[in-house]
């Protein structure tokens, strides 16, 4: 069994971050992998920042990834990825959805949204490698924008760093969605997987 793999998923309420954690957790248990995690529920539903940690391996006890110890950051939204920069190290891999979600405080003039270039520059300097994809665009291509989180899940598996079998995660996806939504989600997963593999080549 692996000793410690720390995954962090960050995004905005409504992006399906919690669902991704559940799918990872159920799959880990099926494949006999020890798993711990935590997330922010409650207030996060109301459009706030969402953050979920998933930790796998024999040496993992606590629910939270320590600062500087994140192996893979799955950024569902650029500024939300940047918000969690302190968890990264020079060996971290980032999978970044480049589709931005501007919070309501920006049109109200209470805050500014950073330029995508600045976000990427900052993330690049704090990590080892960054894979960028427009998961929303890819999801739209499947015919269902709501599959963007599954595209990102596919991209996460495309790193080939997870101790979970592809068949197992697909089985969990199949169990989780109503029958008619299974094919589109599997398609989204495969597209995310391929995009990540190509980017890493």
């Amino acid at each position: 069994m692996i000793k410690e793999l720390n995954i962090l998923i960050s995004g905005v309420g409504g992006q399906g971050v919690i669902l991704m954690s559940e799918l990872l957790g159920n799959s880990a248990v099926k494949d006999g992998v020890r798993i711990r995690g935590s997330e922010l529920l409650g207030m996060a539903v109301r459009g706030g920042s969402v953050f979920s940690t998933i930790r796998m391996g024999s040496d993992v006890y606590g629910p939270l990834t320590p600062l500087g110890k994140c192996d893979i950051l799955v950024g569902m939204e650029p500024s939300e990825a940047l918000r969690n920069i302190t968890y990264l190290s020079k060996s971290s891999l980032i999978i970044l959805n480049t589709a931005i979600i501007v919070p309501f405080t920006v049109p109200l003039g209470q805050s500014k949204y950073p330029s995508l270039e600045v976000v990427q520059e900052k993330l690049e300097s704090a990590s080892g490698k960054i894979v960028k994809l427009d998961a929303n665009q890819i999801a739209r291509g499947t015919g269902n924008l709501l599959t963007a989180n599954i595209v990102m899940l596919g991209a996460l598996f495309g790193t080939e760093l997870l101790p979970i079998k592809i068949e197992t995660i697909k089985e969990s996806i199949t169990e989780r969605f109503p029958d008619k939504l299974v094919p589109v989600n599997i398609k989204a997963f495969d597209l995310g997987y391929q995009t990540c593999q190509q980017a890493l080549k």
Binding site: S38, L40, S49, G68, S79, L108
Partner: protein, 632 residues
Amino acid sequence: MKKLTISSDAPGERLFMLGNEAIARGAIEAGVQLAAAYPGTPSSEILETIASVAKELDIYAEWSTNEKVAFEVALAASLCGLRAMASMKHVGVNVAHDPLMSASYIGARGGLVLLTADDPWAWSSQIEQDSRYIAEQGYLPILEPSSVEEAKNMMADAFALSEEFGHPFIVRSVTRIGHARSDVTLGEISKERRKGFFKKDRSRLVLTPAEARKDRPLMIKRFEEIGKRVNTLPYNQLKLADGAKLSVIASGLSYSYAQEAIEWLGLEDKISVLKIGTPHPLPKELVVKLLSSVPEALVVEELEPFVELHVKAIAQEANISTKIHGKDLLPVMGELSTSKVTEAIAQLTNSKLPVNFGEIEKLREETAPLLPLRPPTLCPGCPHRASLYAIKTAAKRVAKDYGKDVVPIYPGDIGCYSLGYIPPLESNDITICMGAGFGLANGFAHATDVPIIAHLGDSTFFHAGIPPLINAVYNKANITMVVLDNSATAMTGFQPHPGTGYTATGEETVQLKPEDIARACGVKFVEVIDPFDLKMATNTIEKAIRFNGPSLIVSRRLCAIIELREKRERREKVIPYHIDQDKCSEKCEACIKLLGCPAIIKEDGKTVIDSSLCTGCGLCAQICPYKAIVQE
């Protein structure tokens, strides 16, 4: 193979669970027969989980009107010999505090467990609060799990311990237990179902002064017995390292951080560790054994220095001169983390830090100014936005007649509508606890001469809003009370309450209406409004404020999230609004500046509506001075 669920009697199988599901599972394995609760993050999923399998497993589960009632319901069932529990968030325990302190005097018969969910960093609470002090005040033993799996096992054992000693037990969860996830090994589900029988024992149960004086020494004796027993409970573990110069005493979840920190620093063989699962009463013998073996100790615990102070007292009593650290090196505020504990241990052992935390802190400071603010906010289409806007518009009209510079006061309460306090609505001047919106309004009315308009939600109204309403009538407080009735306990996950007509297990029941209750309590001005009919709503609220004496408005509209869900089920289309750019004055931005709806955004300098977020509520169309907002 049959799919594993929370009610599967499959000992040894592993299931991925939310901490709160694991806590529920622990109670189920122990054969709990009655569970009562009031929703509150991070505790709500416990009763939800039990309620979802209640019929199948022959358990009675209820959402009580508040935490005090929930605990009383559980206490009565325990006195009838059933295993019973109440679950609530830390501030809910304050509401249940009165019966809880008395329960300790009279004791328990069937296992009685109070689950408190503390919320360090107040992620979704008005305050941080350490329930261990409440346990101490009431001679109540408290168990504190270090992981999701242990939470399940402790919960199950707490019922047995409570029965063994005839005393109520508390289990303390925290956000990172209840809202953590983990693989958990299932235990056997107890099939025992007892028939409730109330054994009368007036000299113990009727707490008159004379009887209470007899009960108190018995309570103290029970607690002393429990104090001996905790030394051998598996949740308290002592691991001595040969020649250790430092020991770590870690309570509850903090043990998992300490364990990781010690491994991260590579000090496994150099530090003695005492894992604490019962912070009150502490396993005194183990503490003495540990302290006598090391010159220095670090107590690791979240929030207050509860264990630290008790360990210091034990050391003093036992004449041990070990230097005891704790909150001198770790924060009293917020959650602990492996990083924080690592820093503290590194300092005491002169170890090299595994990562440069100084650099990380520098990075955090550099990045912070770049980040856009993304606070939680009222959802697009939330009826509260309309109600709060109408309240303020009406109040300002009336205030003018009171005199120049008169500013109305808006006491608020606990619920989604608390989020209206930020710009642009700024609809809430004070929020402290459940029901206090109406209570504070009473005081403001007698202390000032300005319009007072208080608001709270429907679930909050039933929870703690009725006594201050009666107070306003009785003591003639000239206030306007608005019940924001969205037919849901929305903030905590849409649990049913007395106004919804359904129980926790989905049975139909009497549907109570706040307007009926207000009339019955003697409020002479009572009106029901639809907040999405903004003009009518504002005019009615204005009349209520002008009414001499207490008035009550029920602003009734279904929660936007439930409304969308139901529309989806009915296959009904949501028709969003859009902005006619020919009519819109780009610089006006009234819709953005007055309402702050997340669906109204700026795109290339133009004000537009994000049709994927718009629910078609039409509030913005009603306030647009150019009539530029129309339904598609």
